[in-house]
């Protein structure tokens, strides 16, 4: 079922697999506004794929298509070798797609632990009765899920805030908790919407390290949108550049950096 293409080897020696998800000629319209125009690119197994572009380029819309929140007006998303039908977001989540949000969407009144636990929702299927009585399947499930959640808490080094309500945490930590929740779903593809936005240098360094560690340790495929060029160029294996809803570049960070269209889009060009 996987693409026959065997993938490639990155500069630092990681083996990247076949195509996991492919956007085929995606167009997205809101009434008369064309947000995305005929874009195609692929995301391969095990790679860190960045989508960049100036404000309003359509990056977030693209991410929303990948996550199943928007259905493309034209074109199709191929996932694991087959076209993905129009789905509700939770169905997409069950297929192994998890995401974080640009402006943190956590439950502020709940503890970090409970928030991360909600990420396990797709892995719970005990019935109401069992849940209410806290007996049998519900209990076994909770123990198994808690174990997984604790592994992630350990991995992201947030043990000290395990029982702290999220509302009391600083911004940088909230971002990390959101990453933890997304990881809790054990996704095969992780979407990060501006994971570094609003962070200071130290927080960015931490976050970058965690993103690399997640990719390295769990082999999770990561697609991210980010404004900080330094971060994007350091982290990602391949970069898609968008401008005004169109794809203007695609390739390794070096290729993209030297692409004239990309330079024009970022620095402006005289008409």
């Amino acid at each position: 079922m996987m693409d026959a293409d065997a993938g490639y080897v990155t500069e630092d020696g990681r083996q990247i697999g076949g195509v996991l998800m492919e956007m085929k000629n995606i167009t997205l319209r809101f009434g008369g506004v064309v947000a995305i125009k005929d874009i195609s690119f692929d995301i391969r197994e095990g790679e860190i794929r960045a989508i960049i572009g100036p404000n309003g380029a359509g990056k977030s819309s693209m991410l929303n298509i990948i996550s199943g929140f928007y259905t493309p007006s034209e074109g199709a998303v191929w996932y694991k070798g087959a076209p993905r039908p129009a789905m509700r977001p939770y169905e997409v989540a069950r297929m192994g797609v998890a995401r974080t949000f640009q402006n943190i969407a956590l439950f502020e009144g709940m503890t970090v632990l409970d928030n991360v636990m909600t990420g396990r929702l797709t892995h719970m299927n005990a019935g109401i009765a069992s849940q209410a009585l806290w007996w049998g399947k519900a209990r076994d499930e909770e123990v198994a899920n808690r174990e997984k959640v604790e592994e992630i808490i350990d991995f992201l080094e947030i043990q000290a805030i395990r029982k702290t309500p999220v509302g009391r945490l600083p911004y940088g930590l909230k971002k990390r908790v959101e990453l933890a929740r997304a990881l809790a779903a054990e996704p095969s593809i992780l979407l990060l919407d501006e994971p570094m936005a609003g962070m200071n240098v130290e927080e960015k360094e931490d976050m970058s390290r965690f993103i690399l560690d997640v990719n390295d340790e769990f082999g999770t495929t990561i697609a991210l949108i980010e404004h900080d060029m330094g971060v994007v160029m350091d982290l990602s294996d391949r970069v898609v550049v968008m401008d005004y809803g169109k794809k203007i570049g695609d390739g390794t960070p070096d290729e993209v950096r030297n692409n004239q269209d990309v330079i024009d889009a970022y620095l402006g060009v005289q008409h």
Binding site: D12, G13, L113, R146, E147, E150, E151, I153, D154, F155, E157, Q159, A160, R162, D213, D216, E217
Partner: protein, 657 residues
């Protein structure tokens, strides 16, 4: 598979004590560590198995008797086992400070010639890799936490659990060799080598024998009636002699349980969950906890605040007396019992001291207010005086004879004498063997009869027989007019104010004393918040006029107190400044155990010292700082120098003559 040849008569090494404990306390907990949110427990029998496997693994990797194994990482059961496994394999464990930078680490690794390193995680592995080119003897590194390590070249790098598995797989071939090495251990074998932080010069490797450690552990355990069933929290650096004595020495001797926190950040929460019955902390930790308690009480409701203030006043009045077993009136006792129910009990629980039977503090002087606060709550907090060369214990306070300004009576088996110069000397079964590869220093410190110079000046109080330490002997000097100069005495008085974190007093050979002050960012920051004073950085807060005003008041209060002391009244502070940066071990200004490096500070800030004596009102300065990742930067500041009022001396020298 556990070594079964433990004969009760020959408990002359830690592997032998382990074998005894594995039989005697087989099912009782030996180690706990919080991981994945749950306390994981290993019984003595299980710990023995883990250690046996690792020892076999080390032999399998080719470790030889007498080799040094450096151990670097935070407190974890696995690393404590590494020490005993190293001993069982005939090697000498050398625990290192985990916050040491690569350069410091290189010096120690090279000096001890470690062929093996056991590192806690990727951070420590990276540091060793950074310096391994310069180490000719270094061969293998074993790491504990595999996270992030997958892509490393594993030709000389091994995962802890794999070393254990491979050792276990080869047990049939290797066990006879392990038994042979283990049986060869006796009281004279080296137990551990610890590097002293060294307030001056390069660190020295202190060689301690099994006799030193086991005798000391035995004596000190009996002194405080420690027993199997006690609980301790191991959170102080593993490279520090105290941690070795508590977490291995006394633990193996008495069979109590050593608990390791989940991470350094969760230490306080873990402390509360464990509720240790035997606890050690440097004064700094008690100070921080008290500051935090007070800050939180400020935010409490009126009723709670009133209750707290009311009962704390009563506790201060009768608490220490009740703890010392002195006679206290019936009504006072009743009120204290009520306070225990309403305030002290819950507070102790909050602080994690609910179960403490014996608590110790040492390393620095503790403020009398801080000390009395904890004693008033009914926590049996005591002081001890010791050093690495003595396997910790020189003097300690017996139950019921506890005061904040003495360090107690000589520990069991320890002889203490005061030289004519005022320097304290001791001789004990814990006295170290030698400084590694440094016979010269060994001779300077330890004489032929085994007396060791502590480098501290002190005296025995005639009335109680308790030892009082004044200062480092070499820091005690004379001022220009010949009067006694003891900087630490004054610094400690300054540091007892919560607003002052660190102080350095100058004045040897001068006509008057001056001081550098470091403010405490927690306390002063909290004050600033309450008074709507905005600040962007430590530097800005440290230079705030109102902060300077407060510090000046503190300095003047200290002057009044110093003036009371006949011998040291010349040490009043005439001028001071508040430093623009926190003194930091990374910049070499403090030792890793956070002691002030006087000489280095005086050299580094010589412009500031000069300004303190030439009368200029302000001074512009630039200082190089080292960031945590090793990069260097500069901070610039213009500092204000202030004069402090000096109190008249109580008894004029002239009048006494």
């Amino acid at each position: 598979m556990v070594n079964t040849q433990a004969s009760a008569g020959a408990l002359e090494s830690f592997p032998a004590l382990l074998a005894r404990n594995a039989q005697l306390y087989s099912g009782k907990p030996a180690n706990r560590e919080k991981e994945f949110g749950i306390w994981q427990t290993w019984s003595w029998a299980e710990a023995a198995v883990e250690i046996e496997k690792l020892a076999l693994g080390l032999i399998n990797l080719g470790i030889q008797p007498g080799d040094h194994i450096a151990i670097i990482g935070r407190n974890r059961p696995y690393l404590y086992w590494s020490m005993v496994a190293a001993q069982a394999a005939g090697a000498v464990p050398v625990p290192l400070y985990q916050d040491a930078n690569a350069e410091e680490m290189a010096y120690v690794l090279d000096h001890c010639g470690a062929r093996f390193v056991i590192a806690g995680d990727q951070e420590q592995v990276d540091k060793v890799i950074e310096v391994q080119e310069t180490l000719h003897q270094f061969e293998h590194m074993i790491y504990l936490d595999p996270r992030g390590m997958r892509k490393y070249d594993h030709t000389r790098l091994h995962e802890y659990s794999h070393v254990q598995e491979q050792g276990y797989a080869a047990r049939d071939e290797l066990t006879p060799e392990l038994n042979r090495r283990r049986d060869a251990l006796n009281y004279d074998s080296t137990c551990v080598m610890l590097y002293t932080s060294g307030t001056t010069g390069k660190p020295k490797g202190v060689v301690l024998s099994n006799r030193n450690m086991i005798e000391t552990a035995k004596n000190s355990s009996e002194f405080d009636h420690l027993r199997a069933g006690d609980e301790v929290l191991a959170y102080l650096p593993m490279a520090w002699v105290g941690d070795f004595i508590f977490s291995i020495g006394q633990a193996y001797w008495t069979g109590f349980c050593v608990n390791c926190p989940e991470s350094p950040e969760t230490m306080m929460a873990d402390l509360r969950e464990i509720g240790p019955s035997y606890y050690f902390a440097p004064p700094r930790i008690f100070e921080t906890q008290l500051t935090q308690t007070m800050i939180r009480m400020e935010d409490a409701g009126k009723t709670k605040k009133w209750l707290f203030d009311h009962f704390m006043a009563h506790a201060r009045k009768v608490g220490p007396a009740i703890l010392d077993g002195k006679s206290v009136g019936m009504m006072d006792r009743l009120k204290y019992a009520m306070g225990e129910f309403l305030v002290y009990g819950p507070l102790k629980n909050m602080l994690g001291f609910g179960q403490v039977r014996v608590g110790y503090t040492a390393g620095e002087a503790i403020g009398p207010e801080i000390f009395d606060f904890y004693r008033a709550l009914g926590i049996n907090l005591k002081q001890l005086y010791g050093q690495t060369e003595a396997s910790v214990f020189i003097t300690q306070q017996p139950d019921g004879e506890v005061r904040s300004d003495t360090v107690g009576v000589p520990s069991p088996g320890v002889e203490v004498r005061i030289a004519d110069s005022g320097e304290v000397f001791y001789r004990s079964p814990g006295t170290f063997v030698e400084y590694y590869k440094n016979p010269e220093s060994t001779r300077d410190t330890k004489d032929a009869e085994g007396w060791v110079a502590t480098g501290d000046a002190g005296f025995f109080e005639p009335s109680t027989g308790h030892l009082r330490i004044i200062d480092r002997a070499k820091d005690v000097g004379q001022m220009a007019d010949g009067s006694l100069f003891a900087p630490k005495y004054v610094e400690n008085k300054l540091k007892f104010f919560p607003n002052i974190l660190e102080a350095v007093v100058f004045g040897a050979g001068k006509d008057r004393c001056t001081a550098f002050i470091n403010i405490d960012l927690t306390a002063v920051g909290n004050w600033a918040e309450r008074n709507n004073i905005a600040y962007a950085s430590y530097q800005e807060l440290a230079g705030h006029p109102q902060v300077l005003e407060t510090i000046q008041k503190h300095v003047e209060e200290v002057n009044r107190s110093v003036a009371q002391d006949e011998m040291l009244s010349g040490c009043q502070i005439h001028r001071f400044l508040v430093l623009h940066k926190e003194l930091d071990a990374d910049d070499g200004e403090l030792t890793r155990t956070r002691k002030v490096r006087r000489k280095i500070i005086a050299e580094k800030f010589d412009d500031l010292v000069g300004a303190l004596y030439d009368g200029s009102p302000t001074i512009y300065t630039e200082t190089e700082v080292t960031y945590e990742d090793g990069r260097k930067g500069k901070i610039r500041a213009t500092l204000e120098l202030r004069d402090a009022a000096v109190a008249p001396v109580a008894h004029q020298r002239v009048a006494a003559e």
